[in-house]
């Protein structure tokens, strides 16, 4: 996590640089980011120790939480940063789950199967990307949905996967205590890894490139951005990310069935969480997952009314808080936990700020 530190440099450029430029500095991180780094380390440590502190009911809930968090972060990476709005990410959720099933039914431990299935999803993402890479906006979104449907239809024809009936996951430890703890640690590790990858990706040069491509593809090409390969990279990361979520899903459910594994509900949840939390920010999906979970835990007993409330919340936030809850928080308090942007200081008082305060 060393890269979280302030990364400031004086613009001591080539000799031809005029004095004004020599005095400015480009800064990566601001103070709130440093604090956030410390907090992240602390939180992860506490979370890792959790099975020794709380009963498995809690850790079991957190497994669902982290699984959703991973998915939402991946969708956010795809839609919020790369501008690729997909309603078919459940394709990879399902493939991840069935990947684990395939390996486990050949004797691999399901936990060891998680990374393999994840990698397999990234590999399967390649042909999918080939198919969808030329498509934009609505075409892309719907085609992804169709691809998920194709995956479901094909998987449900395979008898050894239980066909349309579904099947249980073999090879898990029999001791429920150990099982929940292991599942929890696996999920936590994957979540930390996934968020870490997203963060580092966005902090790297790729992050800028992604936003540029999202904002204007032609413009991006003209400044030398390799649009196709950047988008492919992100697509594959998101494929792997949703794959790992699917792998964790089958391990925690111990049961898989095609309609559930490839359900468009996964994408609906990802979209809901991301947009509620704040799309295009790393913090957004985290906040969104928390909100989603709180709503679910407190209201789900009200049945249809819960869903009606959920729908209304989605509409209200989409309309009145465009940048999501995190947007509200960040605007209100001017904080940014994960600094991925760049800052020029001193930028001089820009003329256009006149009258603004």
């Amino acid at each position: 996590m060393s890269s979280l530190g302030p990364d400031t440099t004086a613009a001591a450029g080539p000799p031809s640089v005029p004095p004004a430029a020599a005095q400015v500095r480009v800064t990566r991180a601001r103070r709130s980011t440093l604090a956030a780094a410390a907090a992240v380390v602390l939180i992860v440590a506490v979370l890792a120790y959790l099975p020794y502190l709380v009963y498995s009911g809690t850790t079991n809930l957190l497994v669902n939480f982290f699984t959703l968090l991973i998915m939402a972060s991946m969708w956010n990476l795809l839609a919020g940063y790369a501008g690729l709005v997909s309603v078919g990410q459940q394709a990879f959720v399902g493939l991840g789950a069935y990947g684990v099933l395939l390996l486990a039914s050949h004797g691999t431990s399901p936990f060891l199967a998680i990374p393999v299935a994840t990698a397999a999803c990234a590999v399967l993402g390649l042909p999918v990307w080939w198919l969808v890479s030329r498509l934009r906006s609505g075409y892309f979104a719907i085609t992804m949905w169709v691809i998920a449907s194709v995956c479901e239809l094909i998987i449900s024809q395979i008898p050894s996967f239980g066909g349309g009936t579904g099947t249980g996951l073999p090879g898990l430890p029999g001791n429920p205590t150990l099982l929940t703890a292991d599942t929890y640690w696996a999920t936590l590790a994957c979540a930390v890894l996934a968020l870490g990858v997203v963060y580092l990706l966005l902090r790297s040069r790729i992050g800028l490139v992604l936003t540029a491509v999202r904002d204007d593809e032609t413009g991006a090409r003209s400044v030398g951005v390799r649009v196709a390969s950047t988008q492919r990279l992100v697509f594959l990361v998101a494929a792997a990310g949703c794959g790992v979520a699917g792998a964790l899903y089958i391990v925690s459910q111990q049961f898989v069935e095609p309609t559930a594994a490839f359900s468009v509900l996964w994408s609906a949840k990802m979209i809901f969480i991301t947009v509620i939390g704040g799309i295009g920010t790393i913090e957004g999906p985290i906040i969104g997952t928390i909100i989603y979970f709180v709503l679910q835990q407190t209201l789900a007993q009200y049945g249809t009314w819960y869903f009606i409330a959920l729908g209304l919340v989605a509409m209200a936030i989409a309309i009145w808080a465009r940048r999501g809850i995190w947007g509200l928080i960040a605007d209100r308090f001017g904080i940014r936990l994960f600094g991925v942007g760049y800052w020029l200081s001193p930028a001089g008082p820009p003329d256009r700020d006149r009258g603004s305060r």
């Binding site: 003329d351 700020d353 006149r354 009258g355 603004s356 305060r357």
Partner: protein
């Protein structure tokens, strides 16, 4: 056309203040445009010229002040109603309907048209190349061609006040000349023109009156002949010129 008292302004802008979020883009701007007048608004990059034009057209809601057309307060009217009342804007960056053909763009401009001399045929006659390209989609026109269509689209609404934002931007000299040569005739037909132009000399040549905008305030106004270059430059750049 009804006879009007020449001294009564056709467009009256009173104490207009406009905010973009927190940023105040206009501070109590007032101006009045007489019937048949051509007023130029000049000012540096970011001075608020476009904001003024867009506010008159109804695209921004002022925080204070009012816009009067023929003495009637139109501040509360929506943009499309202002078109019907007689205000037409040729916006910065043209804003054509990209997927519509050239002709369709003009037809859309007629939606709330008032009765008047400008028809599609007249616009085609004005821009000779247009008629044979009329079924080409606007997205495929060159920048200058688009500017011409944008002007045509505003003209067919037969406005009383024509707002031209960055009129000559991107136009070949031949077209610029053509359009500026046209201005007096537009005015003769009863139109009043409010013009934003970066090319100060060009603007001052055609304008009967000039307003200089600096950081959201009018810092200088007068007949072009009475303004000195020094005055204009001072008003133009104020103190805060970026190095």
């Amino acid at each position: 056309m009804t006879q009007r008292n020449e001294s009564a302004p056709v467009l009256d802008v009173r104490d207009l203040t406009v905010h973009h979020g927190q940023l105040r883009a206009l501070h109590g701007v007032s101006l009045s445009l007489p019937a048949g007048g051509v007023h130029a608004i000049i000012g540096a990059n970011g001075a608020g010229k476009s904001t003024l034009m867009r506010t008159i057209a109804g695209l921004h809601r002022p925080t204070a002040g009012s816009v009067l057309l023929d003495g009637a307060d139109v501040t509360a009217l929506r943009p499309e109603r202002r078109v019907a009342a007689g205000i037409a804007l040729v916006p910065e960056a043209r804003r054509l309907f990209a997927s519509l053909t050239l002709e369709e763009n003009l037809l859309v401009g007629q939606t709330s048209a008032r009765p008047g001399p400008w028809t599609l045929d007249e616009v085609y006659a004005l821009f000779g190349w247009m008629r044979e390209r009329r079924s080409q989609r606007a997205a495929q026109l060159s920048g200058g061609e688009q500017q011409a269509v944008a002007i045509g689209r505003a003209l067919v609404a037969n406005p009383r006040v024509l707002l031209l934002d960055e009129l000559s931007l991107g136009l070949a000299p031949v077209v610029v000349r053509q359009i500026y040569d046209l201005l007096p005739r537009l005015v003769d037909s009863g139109l009043s023109v409010l013009l934003v132009e970066q090319d100060v000399s060009q603007a001052l040549r055609v304008a009967s009156y000039a307003h200089c905008l600096l950081e959201g305030r009018i810092t200088l106004a007068g007949h072009p002949a009475e303004l000195t270059t020094q005055q204009i430059e001072a008003a133009y750049f104020g103190v805060g010129v970026s190095a």
